[in-house]
Amino acid sequence: MSCDAATHCVTCADEGIRMRVMRVNHESGLALCAADDGAHSTVDIALVDAVNPGTELLVHAGVALVTLTETAPA
């Protein structure tokens, strides 16, 4: 993750981060994801369906809570 230059490190537990899936390991239930700033991290995808490379996820504390590509913009 990166730091928000205006404040401090965005590690507050409730920071929701949009990430794009790069690689999926269905056996482990984990995906390698990239944030908009280019930072990479491993994300648990056990709670969402249909995760493929390119899928956008809303990630909280290393876990994807919703796939953003499932729903249309409000």
């Binding site: 993750m1 928000d4 205006a6 404040t7 401090h8 490190c9 965005v10 590690t11 507050c12 537990a13 409730d14 920071e15 929701g16 949009r18 908009d36 991290s41 491993t42 648990d44 056990a46 709670l47 969402v48 956008e56 809303l58 909280h60 504390a61 290393g62 876990v63 809570l65 919703v66 953003l68 729903t71 249309a72 913009p73 409000a74």
Partner: protein, 371 residues
């Protein structure tokens, strides 16, 4: 950036602000609470306050996960961190929360092995890499982070990681909202609902707010236009004599929430009879602990902790800020003795805390004019 740029459109923002201005009744004062600390952060960061008519007041709610952790809980964490052989892990902001005798960051400086992690999965990885050490994860947060902790504990149990445990300080959002609505200190006209908590719990748990208390709630996203639109929607309900739950953040929040996340939480956690919230006191059934099936991973059963309730510093008014009774700048120590660099109270620590958000973004424009 998709789903972001279109919600930061300045021209559209001015249009919605104009609609808000035309929707308010002159002479009536509106008080809306944004429940989530993420909203508080966005409101100050983007100057949303400055786009609102002077008679629309935003009150900052208790939805910052680190701000509601009481000092005694920090002391318990430090006591575990100082146990020989322990690696204590937590989110970054937790490290700076003051306990009665310093913070986790200060305990780290004094020699305790305390490490910042971005997710509980990182803590589990540390446990696997250090099989001869006890690794403890200090779990905090609302329903957004509780699924992450629950999944990690399931993995730890399934993989038989014996040297991993969790000090569970997760909380749930509905009980403090009910407590606030029962409080005689506060008169609210409506709520900006917590968007990301709602991705997990859905809209259903908030139905008691219009049903029992007659206040509208609009679940909102975190971009400036999301928040402005949510305020517009609340005002529309009030002017049309409607009172219901609406979902402004439908592009992310399904009405029913995330059933898988709710199921894993129900398996791993159970409600505590009482949990202490900073500034709000003890609230029934508002905190989570590990269920019996996961008690072997409960750090509070594995280690002894002081478990003592510690009163907040007298000068600190985080409690009143968390209840929305006073604004951050009305606290006696705001910006003087209490700053993000040297916080006295929790609200000055996290970027989602009302005091830190206001200190960083809003302190130069306190007086608002009618737009």
């Amino acid at each position: 950036m998709r789903f972001v740029d279109e919600f930061r459109d300045a021209e559209l923002g001015r249009v919605v602000a104009t609609e808000i201005l035309s929707a308010v009744e002159p002479g009536r004062h509106y008080k809306f609470m944004e429940v989530c600390g993420g909203h508080t952060h966005s409101i100050y960061k983007y100057g949303i306050d400055d786009l609102l008519p002077a008679n629309v007041e935003l009150v900052h709610g208790p939805g910052c996960p680190v701000c509601v952790i009481p000092m005694g809980r920090v002391d318990d964490g430090i006591a575990i961190a100082r146990e020989p052989g322990v690696i204590f892990t937590c989110f970054g902001d937790m490290m700076r929360i003051p306990g009665s005798d310093g913070s986790l960051l200060e305990a780290k400086a004094e020699g305790a092995d305390i490490r910042m992690v971005y997710s509980p999965l990182d803590a589990l990885r540390i446990a696997k890499d250090n099989p001869d050490r006890e690794v403890v994860f200090f779990a905090i947060g609302f329903e957004t982070t509780a699924p992450s902790t629950a999944l990690t504990l399931k993995r730890a149990k399934a993989e038989g990681v014996k040297n991993f445990s969790c000090m569970c300080s997760h909380v749930t959002i509905v009980p403090p909202l009910r407590a606030l609505l029962e409080s005689p200190d506060l008169r609210l006209d409506g709520f900006i609902g917590p968007g990301h908590v709602a991705t997990v719990v859905g809209a259903r748990p908030f139905r008691f707010i219009p049903a029992d208390y007659g206040k509208p709630l609009v679940i909102a996203g975190f971009e400036p236009l999301d928040i402005l639109q949510a305020i517009r929607m609340i005002l529309a309900q009030l002017s049309e004599d409607r009172c219901e739950i609406e979902n402004q953040y439908a592009r992310v929040v399904p009405y029913e929430g995330n059933n898988r996340a709710l199921a894993v939480m129900a398996e791993v956690f159970e409600l505590r009879p009482h949990f202490e919230w900073r500034g709000l006191g003890f609230i029934s059934h508002s905190g989570l602990k590990l269920s019996d099936a996961y008690s072997e991973l409960d750090a509070e059963l594995r280690f002894s902790t002081p478990g003592i309730r510690v009163a907040d510093p007298k000068a600190c008014q985080c409690g009143e800020v968390l209840k929305g009774v006073i604004k951050p700048w009305e606290c006696k120590v705001f910006g003087t003795a209490c700053t993000p660099e040297r916080p006295i109270g929790t609200c000055m620590v996290s970027s989602e805390g009302a005091c830190a958000a206001y200190y960083n973004f809003g302190r130069f424009a306190r007086e608002r004019e009618v737009v």
